[in-house]
Symmetry: C2
Subunit: 192 residues, 2 copies
């Protein structure tokens, strides 16, 4: 098997380092060291750490399994629940570390980089749009209360999830996840 391209190795290492350490704590040299490439090669592939961060965000998004949200073989509410369970299980598998790169960059960098802020916003929008469709389908099936607006609730769910990750990392326990699943699936969405 051939060696991956140097650019690809930098992106893979950057996603890992940004996710584990945060934007400011992961320097270009940390990333090129992790990628096993010379630091000097970095600027042959990327204009800046900021530009690399945006590519890393896209790569992170590709791992969110968002296509599961459109899998019509699974009833819509169950699909939504499994989606958040997948995201939860990933954080638990990391020992309650790392959280979500969207939320991490949104918290640490959005105020200071319009480019990263825009990429975070677009990532959250893409995700939210899929949940709007899932909630709309669930409402039509009578599985979600009809007096909520899917556009509003989907955004709220995504935001609530990002905050749930902050709390789960602070606690290193499932309590915040449990509160999310109970509050969302048993209370907020459930038909009267």
């Amino acid at each position: 098997m051939g060696r991956k391209s140097m650019r690809e190795e930098i992106v893979t290492a950057a996603l890992d380092r940004f996710h584990a350490r945060g934007y400011n704590a992961a320097g270009v040299k940390d990333i090129t060291d992790a990628a096993g490439v010379p630091k000097g090669s970095f600027y042959n592939h990327f204009d800046s750490k900021e530009a690399l961060a945006i590519v890393a965000l896209e790569r992170y998004g590709a791992g969110r399994r968002l296509a599961d949200l459109t899998d019509e073989a699974v009833p819509p509410v169950e699909r939504l629940r499994r989606h958040f369970e997948f995201l939860r299980d990933e954080v638990v598998a990391y020992g309650y570390h790392r959280g979500c790169l969207y939320g991490n960059f949104g918290s640490e960098i959005a105020d200071h980089s319009d480019a990263i802020r825009g990429a975070v916003r677009d990532s959250l929008d893409t995700w939210t749009t899929l949940i709007v469709a899932t909630l709309t389908e669930a409402q039509r099936a009578g599985a979600v209360r009809t007096d909520l607006a899917p556009e509003v609730t989907a955004g709220f769910l995504v935001n609530a999830w990002e905050g749930t990750l902050i709390r789960a990392r602070a606690d290193r326990s499932t309590a915040a996840f449990d509160a999310f699943f109970t509050s969302v699936f048993e209370l907020l969405l459930a038909p009267a």
Copy 2:
């Protein structure tokens, strides 16, 4: 009027710099420069930037107006709403910058400092406990649905708020706040 103590000036500057820049981006020299004190004086007052961050978190907590949550002159649900409106208005006044220091440190640093992680967890716990009491009182008054557990819902509200701030900063609009208020007050908490 006498000059504030040097320690106090460092704490005030640290809260401002950590809140505006984040933990890693705010160096000790940035903080002592902002405080107008010599960098060398820092370690006369604090063992480390980490120790200062914990004091800054406490100072931040003191500005959350948590006592408003126990003001019996205001009906409990209205009190809760005004509390989150106060927190929202603060972020809007900063031009959708800064967010909540608990969430920022929780996202950026909790994985890497057990001391800061513990301080974030304790801060969120203190806040959550007051909301548990407010929700309990609201349930007794018939103003909140009785089939929710205040301990679970209060934690969820705090977490949802932290994520709402991430989204509001990414968007620089009120949309995430509006989704929070609608989802929480009109749907999640409202009695059937």
